[in-house]
Amino acid sequence: MRKLLKNEGVQAFIASILCILAGLLIGFIVLLCINPQGAGESILDIIKNFFTWSRPASQLKQFGNTLAKAMPLVLCSLSILFAYKVGLFNIGAAGQYVAGACASLYAALAWGWGWLPCMLLAMAAAALLGAIIGILKAYCNVNEVISGIMLNWIALYTTNAVLTHVKEQASPYTLYLSKENPSALLPTLGLENLFSGNKNVTIAVPLAILAAVLVWIILSKTRLGYELKATGNNRNAARYAGMAENRNIILTLVISAALAGLGASLLYQTGYMRWECTQSSVPTMGFNGIAAAFLGGLHPIGAIFSSFFIQHITDGGQYVNTTFYSPQISDVISSVIIYLCSFVLFIKLAMRRMLAQKDEKKGAK
């Protein structure tokens, strides 16, 4: 038992579960405070998400929607964790995600490109943004968090400006991809048949899983991962060992950014969501990636499950009974839970301390 508890993976898992429970508990308390009458029912609705629907077919369809939105989140959390493993905190993932959305939507709507070129352009545009942060970090020692946050806003407003050219006349939203250019929609590979014909479930699902596996392999099994992690942990030692440490920093941010860009492409190219050209805040997807990365124990495979869970809770929020609560409550509750999710490392640390203390006491006897 004790041996099991000392295993890194087990610790991460327990910590994640505890975070989720704490998040739900606090979310429940918030509901109780606002209106005790509907609290129990509402928190259950959030947990149940698509199970709130009675027909299995509807359940599957809604499950598909959650899945479709979870995949971009997987990519965003991969983006965060890839950089984090190399010792960089890529908070710019949010902006890189926006750049990806911009590139893929513009290429699809203005130039009529097919889905794959659109996707690759999204990755390239995001990577470019990542490269800027990387170059500033490598050559001017500008903290990646500062330049990342700045670029998030630049990316947002640039995207608003660019996508205004392809928006509907009557609304602030971009044109429907399915009407204007169906070839830019991600292929479904027949996956919709598993989800009661939900065409939002696409190649994005296998692609995201593939990306997670690739990130895991690169980080733990390859020379590139070895170099990148060495650079992240100790830039001086990397340089001493003859590694091109500046190149490695830039490369890390480029890869991390490309992952975020791919995430945007996986969302907007389903045709499920459209860009709102008047929005004045950076989409939360990139930031939720941080929570998902930590909740997943900073493991690429863990990121798949944690991302799905976070999306599940976020979607579940929409089922909260609005006769008891204002519609914004769903966002409040899911944010509380997501916020608590990033306490994973803290809980892991506390667990390790407790075990060490017990060991010491045992040693004393």
Partner: protein, 518 residues
């Protein structure tokens, strides 16, 4: 002072036993510190010195044993209790705030506060200046820590203890970071403090210093109490035998050198300084031949580090030429130099030598990870080869660690970290080995091991360039000594014929020759 105290001992740690899972760190250890004495605590790395001090500071609670202050039993539950009892410590790695002034650091945590919560710095300043004068601790209260020398940082730490009116002063390996001159100064300061009635515990494994400054010495070995002796009645040989458990050969045994062709040739090398506008290395020329050890001696900060940065490629040259094995490498990358036969044991093993969060095996392949042995054609690491290779080196170089190849480098002792670096650099089979202070902060056993390795490299026909600040090492190990002073080579000496005094004159810049370095 003695008449003030009812008891002979300032602090007594009696029969202290502290166990950790799988290890007894302190096994029935007794340490008695008299009023006004300098008491050395001697032991190799891992002998239990740190644990014993942590017990004294309340960071660990011992399973058995008692602590007495002036004969009265006390309980120390945390460092605050220790502070209240007047126990202060200068840590090996200073605990100073870099961007604060000396004065701010000294008062930190004990600030004199007037009404309205305003700091009364002038009161503190006066007290600090008084203390500094009384004990000969020269500091500039307004200088920033980041701007002052290591020696002055240490004096700041000492003042911190004195400012808090501590009576029992613990020095943890205080000389590891100092130049010979600063060490002499520190010894004098310690004697002054003891003369004023302070009781000093001096943790060290440098025997010469213990003999020079301490009144008594307690020796630990592998968690066991070996004994306490008066330094007057003992010899260095006896102390080292107590510490290591066997006789240690102080004198480095080596055959006469048999130099061959030139492997490393440096001509008119100039390297810029990162800190100052002046060049740190100015127009330096020298050669190192196959089968000889050349030592660059000098006081810290005379351009030795920059010389090595220039040689290894960490800094570009302003001018000059470097030939490695006859080929010019002046503008080559670090990697190119490394694969062309240059090995480099860096000065700072934590900054350059190791990735502390990597496992031992990953650190062992740090210079060779890209070789086909460790990386296959499509860029995957060959984990089995890496494991086999690192296990071989762990065996050969006797690198000790908790979990073998997978131990995080961070959790290894300094001596074993250094052994890992040495194993890595020597096993590359270099033509030229650059070893910068390879024995810094290590215990006698490890130093002996490393010196033997350097000489073995020489005898195997390699060129060894040793950069050292330790006078004993400079006199014993190399075949030729080049003395560096203010970025220039000011003398070439034959270690067999020179004396420490002569060497000191060159190091201090009091004498210089025209040196060809050939």
């Amino acid at each position: 002072m003695g008449d003030v105290h009812s008891n002979e001992f300032a602090i007594e740690m009696l029969h202290i036993t502290k166990r950790f899972p799988g290890i007894i760190a302190n096994d029935d250890i007794t340490l008695q510190l008299r009023h006004g004495e300098i008491h050395a605590l001697l032991g190799e790395n891992g002998a239990g010195k740190s644990t014993l001090m942590s017990v004294l500071f309340g960071m660990y609670q011992p399973e058995e044993g008692t602590i007495k202050k002036d004969g009265v039993e006390v309980k120390i539950h945390n460092p605050n209790d220790a502070n209240a009892l007047g126990i202060g410590m200068v840590h090996q790695h200073f605990k100073l705030v870099e961007c604060f002034s000396v004065l701010d650091n000294i008062i930190l945590g004990n600030e004199p506060v007037g009404s309205m919560g305003l700091l009364k710095k002038d009161v503190a300043r006066k007290k600090i200046l008084d203390l500094s004068e009384k004990y000969g601790l020269k500091v500039d209260p307004d200088a920033l820590i980041s701007d002052i020398t290591v020696g002055m940082q240490q004096r700041t730490e000492i003042l911190k203890m004195l400012y808090r009116d501590n009576e029992i002063l613990i020095f943890d390996e205080p000389t590891a970071v100092l130049t010979p001159q600063e060490i002499t100064e520190l010894m004098q300061i310690m004697k002054n403090l003891a003369a004023e009635g302070k009781s000093i515990l001096f943790i060290s494994h440098k025997l010469a210093e213990i003999m020079a400054v301490a009144d008594r010495c307690t020796v630990l070995r592998k968690g066991q109490y070996i004994g306490t002796v008066n330094t007057k009645d003992t010899t260095m040989e006896e102390l080292s035998a107590m510490m290591v458990g066997r006789k240690v050969n102080f004198h480095v045994e080596k055959k006469p050198a048999n130099p061959g062709e030139v492997l490393l040739e440096v001509s008119h090398m100039t390297v810029a300084s990162r800190v100052h506008k002046n060049n740190a290395v100015r127009d330096v020329s020298f050669q190192v031949r196959r089968g000889e050890i050349v030592c660059i001696a000098g006081i810290d900060g005379n351009g030795q580090s920059e010389l090595v940065y220039g040689l290894s490629g960490l800094e570009p040259l302003v001018s000059g030429k470097i030939l490695l094995n006859g080929k010019e490498i002046t503008k080559s990358s670090i990697r190119k130099r490394s694969v062309s036969g240059m090995s480099h044991i860096p000065e700072d093993r934590h900054k350059h030598g190791l990735v502390l969060d990597y496992s031992l095996e990953y650190n062992i392949i740090l210079q060779t990870y890209f070789e086909p042995e460790f990386t296959n054609k499509i860029g995957f690491l060959r984990s089995k080869n890496i494991r086999d290779y690192s296990e071989r080196l762990i065996q050969e170089y006797d690198i000790r660690s908790g979990q073998g190849a997978v131990t995080p480098a961070r959790s290894m002792s300094g001596g074993n970290q250094q052994k890992a670096i040495i194993a890595r650099e020597l096993d590359k089979q270099p033509d030229v080995l650059i070893a910068v202070q390879p024995t810094r902060g290590l215990d006698v056993g490890a130093i002996e091991f490393i010196h033997k390795q350097l000489i073995a490299q020489r005898d195997a026909g390699k060129a060894v360039l040793l950069i050292s600040l330790e006078l004993d090492e400079v006199m014993d190990v190399p075949d030729r000594i080049l003395v560096m002073y203010e970025g220039e080579i000011v003398g070439e000496l034959d270690p067999k014929r020179t004396t420490q005094e002569e060497l000191g004159l060159y190091m201090a810049g009091a004498r210089r020759d025209e040196v060809s370095g050939k």
